[in-house]
């Protein structure tokens, strides 16, 4: 048995996934990442979705609503 996939949720930021990952987006398109650790965007603001590109920072700085959306 392989180890279970480890996922870390970052406050006001992305979800970190360890190991190779495939993300299927809303349109059914599959995105593969083979980095050791991948940051998946949770805030919706990334310009390279589904991956995080740091854009959540501008969002988090945007106010209380943005902050709520950015965290689980």
């Amino acid at each position: 048995m392989s180890e279970p996939t480890q996922v870390t949720l970052c406050e006001d930021g992305p979800m970190l996934v360890r190991g190779e990952v495939v993300v299927e987006d809303e349109d059914g398109q599959r995105h593969v990442s083979s980095r050791p650790v991948t940051a998946v965007c949770r805030c919706g603001a990334s310009s390279l979705k589904p991956w995080c590109d740091g854009s959540h920072k501008a969002r988090a700085a945007g106010g209380p609503r943005a902050r709520r959306l950015g965290s689980v």
């Binding site: 970052c10 310009s47 390279l48 991956w51 995080c52 590109d53 740091g54 854009s55 700085a61």
Partner: protein, 350 residues
Amino acid sequence: MSTPQTGNGQSMPTLPRARGPLSAALIADLRGETTLVDRTPPEPAPLGSGDEELALWLLYELHHHGFDDAVDGGTEHEWRPDLLALRGDLERRLEQRWRERVAAADLPELPVGAEPADLARAFFALCEADTGAESVARFLQREADEEQLAEVLRQRSIYHVKEQDAAMWTLPRLPDTTKAHLVTIAADEYGNGRPDDLHAQLWARGMRACGLDAAYAAHVDGALPAVLEQNNLMSLLGLHRRLVPAALGHLAAFEVTSAVPSRRVVRGMERLGAPEPMVAYYREHMVADAVHEQLAVRDLVGSYVAEVPGSEPEIAFGAAVCLLAEAATATAVLEHVRRDDETAAGEDVA
């Protein structure tokens, strides 16, 4: 014996031109023309001339690839007591300068003994601090022309040809958990087992595509003193066990301040129609550093603080050095490329 090669698979760098009495004496010594052994090295020209900055950069470079035109490529110079003593003197001056600069800047502090999530939040907040400097990435995004972009790339190349290397000096001195986290980040920087994907190689491909010299240390003669100083600071923090927490703080701040500026650089390069391999370097950093910043702050710094309680102020010092050195470099680089632009425009008219 075959000629040793540098990280770019190219021949070794040659010694740069001197910028004052100290760098001149050092270069002559490394070439074997004169010797500094049993002599007091000359006083450097004032800071900002690049003399002292270049001398220290040369001494650090002896621990990297050395120089083709130094005696034995510089291998015998690497551990010479007199050169190490000179390096120590220059390092003490460098560190004192930056201790003072950081104290004067009065950036936000990191809480001592905080919960991991609070420490991470404080670290990200520290990296948002306004240093008062204009951003090079914004300049590239909005207004740079092609030659200004090329000059920024030449200045940046001083670091990117040895991307991540200085931080790796810390590896054997880290607690085991922190070691593991540093290697996770470094694996990405060094291509995850694929030499072609090494970030320094991605950089070299980008430079070649732009028609710029991609060889190791190719642009040192034109490097601004602030750029050399920024480079020296990374070596200083990496090479001293005492400064390990500062090196980690520096690395984390470096990663935290990379993804968003990389996006701006990509926009600027797309605006200018820059060659795809160079754009690819920065696009890779939008994604890679969005990962690295989380790993560096939460895992790397977080694990170190857990292992070495009370290290927060030194971690904050390293982060501040990163932010302020980038601010100083940005100010110097922007002043330089705008002035050159005016000169070029003047020549056009004449």
